[in-house]
Symmetry: C2
Subunit: 696 residues, 2 copies
Amino acid sequence: MGELSPLFAPERVAVVGATERPGSVGRALVENLADFDGDVVPVNPNYDEVCGLPAVDGVGESGADLAVVAVPAAAVLDVVREAGEAGIRNVVVVSAGFGEAGGEGAARERDLVALAEEYDLNVVGPNCLGIVSTPVGLNATFAPRSAPAGSVSFLSQSGAFVTAVLDWAADHGVGFKDVVSLGNKAVLDESDFVAAWGDDEGTDVVVGYLESVEDGRRFVDVAREVTPETPVVVVKSGRTEAGAQAASSHTGAMAGRDRAYEAGLREAGVIRADTVQDLFDAARVLAGQPVPESDGVAVVTNAGGPGVMATDAVGEEPLSLAEFGPDTLDRLRDRLPEGANVYNPVDVIGDADNERMRAAVDAVLADDAVGSAVVIAAPTATLDFADLAVDVADLQARHGLPVTTCLMGGERARAADDALDAAGIPNYFDPARAVGSLGTLARYREIRERERPSPTTYDVDREAARAVLERARERGRTRLGVEAMPLLDAYGIPTPAGEVVESPVDALEVAEGIDGDVVMKIVSPDILHKSDIGGVKVGVPQEEVYDAFEDLVARARNYQPDATILGVQVQERVEMESGVETIAGTNRDPQFGPLVLFGLGGVFVEVMEDTAVRLAPLAESEALSMLDGIKASPLLSGARGREPVDRAAVAETLGRLSQLVTDFPAILELDVNPLVARPDGVRAVDLRLTVDPDNL
Amino acid sequence: MGELSPLFAPERVAVVGATERPGSVGRALVENLADFDGDVVPVNPNYDEVCGLPAVDGVGESGADLAVVAVPAAAVLDVVREAGEAGIRNVVVVSAGFGEAGGEGAARERDLVALAEEYDLNVVGPNCLGIVSTPVGLNATFAPRSAPAGSVSFLSQSGAFVTAVLDWAADHGVGFKDVVSLGNKAVLDESDFVAAWGDDEGTDVVVGYLESVEDGRRFVDVAREVTPETPVVVVKSGRTEAGAQAASSHTGAMAGRDRAYEAGLREAGVIRADTVQDLFDAARVLAGQPVPESDGVAVVTNAGGPGVMATDAVGEEPLSLAEFGPDTLDRLRDRLPEGANVYNPVDVIGDADNERMRAAVDAVLADDAVGSAVVIAAPTATLDFADLAVDVADLQARHGLPVTTCLMGGERARAADDALDAAGIPNYFDPARAVGSLGTLARYREIRERERPSPTTYDVDREAARAVLERARERGRTRLGVEAMPLLDAYGIPTPAGEVVESPVDALEVAEGIDGDVVMKIVSPDILHKSDIGGVKVGVPQEEVYDAFEDLVARARNYQPDATILGVQVQERVEMESGVETIAGTNRDPQFGPLVLFGLGGVFVEVMEDTAVRLAPLAESEALSMLDGIKASPLLSGARGREPVDRAAVAETLGRLSQLVTDFPAILELDVNPLVARPDGVRAVDLRLTVDPDNL
């Protein structure tokens, strides 16, 4: 389990601040450690013994390898230093009064971090509930109830939620290996625990409740390593605040904070649960059942209605109803009576006894097309649920495929609990939940099988790009438009022929170099909606270019006399007819760094919010997957009788943009809008970006 | 409760086919009737008594007012006739071997229906589990367990599901008034029971599991009357089969069977639940809590994390976080310690005792901005859940606002069950479920407050429309295109100026009557994709109209020599620039009759599947609501700096189309595509329809 394993497997635990005062945290900690396999040493200079255990005066005398600190905040730093001096590497700071309290507390927290560095300490907290590790009977929390043993390890940014889950879990088929209440995450954060549990033999699944991620990039890097072997499921709260944050570009507005988390968790291979129920449903099935090798589900039921409900649920998950082979159909025909349905969903009908049910489940689990199965039973006089549970557990083990059940009933269904719990088979009253659990396994299979390619690196002219940004800095500008098109040229992104010019004569010269009519646009950082003021002319023939220049400048002056006018862009007219207008953008998330956004232009992004967001830098395969990640994707592949656009060129553009924004932290936001995608390639027609000159 | 009330409140029940044979349905029925308040009469000529009750030889001698029939199928009709002759009006046919068995069984079912008509019988089933009514202790089913008493009435198309629910409900806070297993619905169907329970004092909520609706229009009519007073919630399975059905028009493909159900249930004011869990969560809260008067939710919690989760869930429901008034904030400041949060979500913090929690809940429930509240508590040493439950129940009753709770824990939370169950307050471990229940109440409030306007009737020329359809019939055509544009003219739907002509001379004459260039299209039922073969010319100046006619015809002949060519359409060119292309369509559902579909044109319908579907005929307000029912709706209201389109004109067009399709059952499907919506009105540019000439 790496360097954190001693934290969860100490031999001797010091409780600093141990006391017998009723209702105190110090007493609860000592009492909760009663079942610990190792030694417990109360530390309190005012007592000779606490709860029957001999006490010592200072943590330095405890001989412990884990110190749990529950003294007033002002005394914590001294205790931690003493622990460090005594060679105690693992410290859980339960005490509050740190960063969460602001002011003095924040300073105290900084000092705590410094101490942790000085003594190379694993510090949990401060302001936390503590930690649990069931293999050694360690309940170093002040929660009234410890965790039932199991193979799920659980981290939570809310201590109260830990208390609630520990109280609840015992009755709900979830067992834990380690539990940690993260508190203020001053030193150890979610990344540390995910990494540690990824190496831990005893942990089959990691689940978490997070309100934030401390270092998004590190979390992604760590979790990417862990998730192919150990599934990680989290509730990340603050979901529906997405979009609340104002931002200056389309990309900024669309790729709100929650989109960044979404992209980050996706990249990390973390399964995101929306609710507590989903979180622990996922934990149960991932801890208890193997990962299927295919998405085909077999449904076996003794009741038509619930079978139909399960079929509906299959359609809502990344699953399909398996199509049985002829051998399976023969076996089923052989064992089922007339009136039964041998096709999927298999209906053994209401008078089925245990033997018939068993035969049907056995037959479908033997079918090559079946990746997983759900067994459904309504209560009948002929079927014993306890025996059915034993049969299903046995068949699950023998065939090695994941199985969930929906043995529908109250008391009657509880008779099945023991056998199903022992076999790790989740059982729900609702067919949709039983099928949803198989859906979770399918999602995890996709994560486990996902390729994790390195970012693609393209040949670019980095110096030319830097020069463009330098020029902007010299001129004191932070918002750039088409005048920065050479940035795209430098990174090999195709742009229409054209230039920004400052005189009608230059305009004409540029137009003469372009075949056909041109498009002319006023270029000004102060005029955002150029079309609205007549600042855009489409299809200008050469003979009109000179006058058009003067007209555009006049209109702009007229509209906003003090506007900075950088010139007029004269650009090749891009044929739109065979093209699809897309938008490619980037922005920068405080946690996850540069993001890339892709969507169809205009309405699709603004009204339909149909976009794909990924972390930069991108591998080309990831960029391609973004094209499939939008609902309007068929439009790129030739829907409605159109020729398909050059998807590879779109993906390459996303890759090059991701490289650009990764290379230059100074680029805060950037929109290419539209990026016209055609069968013969792409053209970046317009550009807008925001730069931070100090970051260049 | 109307004419079905005696069915659920009999005085004397005959069990036809009563027997003592172990494991038999006849025995289970008699045993399950042991708690019935009235008399039970076994009917079996082979016994003098059954299970200690004196038996009679025939149902005619039973003196019963309800007969439950569990004899072999072949004997059922004689029994039912005998019951009818004896004046027994209510018959539950448990026996199978009817329509579900095909062939002979189907004939038997038809005979059963005839008997029911002859004797004016209320027949439940056949092939059903039976009925339950708790006020009179009636369990006329062969399920092993009866229903706990309550105010939910439950109908199910799956008998097995009834068995499962009865077994489960007792432990899950759901109590029933009446339960019916619908079986084959030969005589009584869901509409009858919804109507009956709508009039029933004892029924607060109707829940159902349906696989089909027998007569969709009747169901809508019945449920529309009931749902303003009594909420109806159903799981309608077969959800995810939508779209599987092939159809010849856009409207047909999009408004698949499930869309019809969706539209029908919406119109009926029925809340659709996707899962069993959602169904009974809805039942609990609707039976136990009042309907809120506003969507503002107050969250009170002793733990930050679960409070954030609840806030997330509020964002997923048709709810908002209430903003407290100054009085409430003062009261909270007065009662809560430093570090607590008096703003919504209110955090009373972890050391809160029952008194503080109570004060906070009391304060928020007194706030005018609060329509409902969720009370959340993690287990702590200072808070007693049982006492908290009593407080919450008391405050809920005193303030009269709906409250749900999330008292998080296992054993500890169960201490709260009694007080909460007695008060009808749903309690869940998952904050999202507690909030989801408040969302259900908000959905029901919208249904209760919904106006139910009569369909709008427009002045139309019905005879002119009939003439167009007659002409099609005479020519033996079932698929019509632009040649049927006069149909739209007759129904007052604006179309561009133009005509279908059969000669170049006529073409020129029509073009001369139109201002500006024209659009010309080949008109042929055999050529579907006219653009692909060059069969459409846009912007044809007058001087080219003659030649264009000949060219279009030549292209069509060349492409498909045997195609029927009806002529060439010469049409005013509709200015698209300021317009939005929409699609307005209708089709006909076997259950729910004529439907109207609306969406934006092209991709939005085909790729984004962004459409609104309603039952015809429409009131104008309903038609307007369809415009808001699509995601792309902002495009109609002037998004992206555009002028808003004439929404009233679009709605009127939908209303007129709905009238057309209601007036003429012969119109099976009809697409107006595009219907161009502009600031100054609409233009129906193209038309395609399928007619059934036999229905004219």
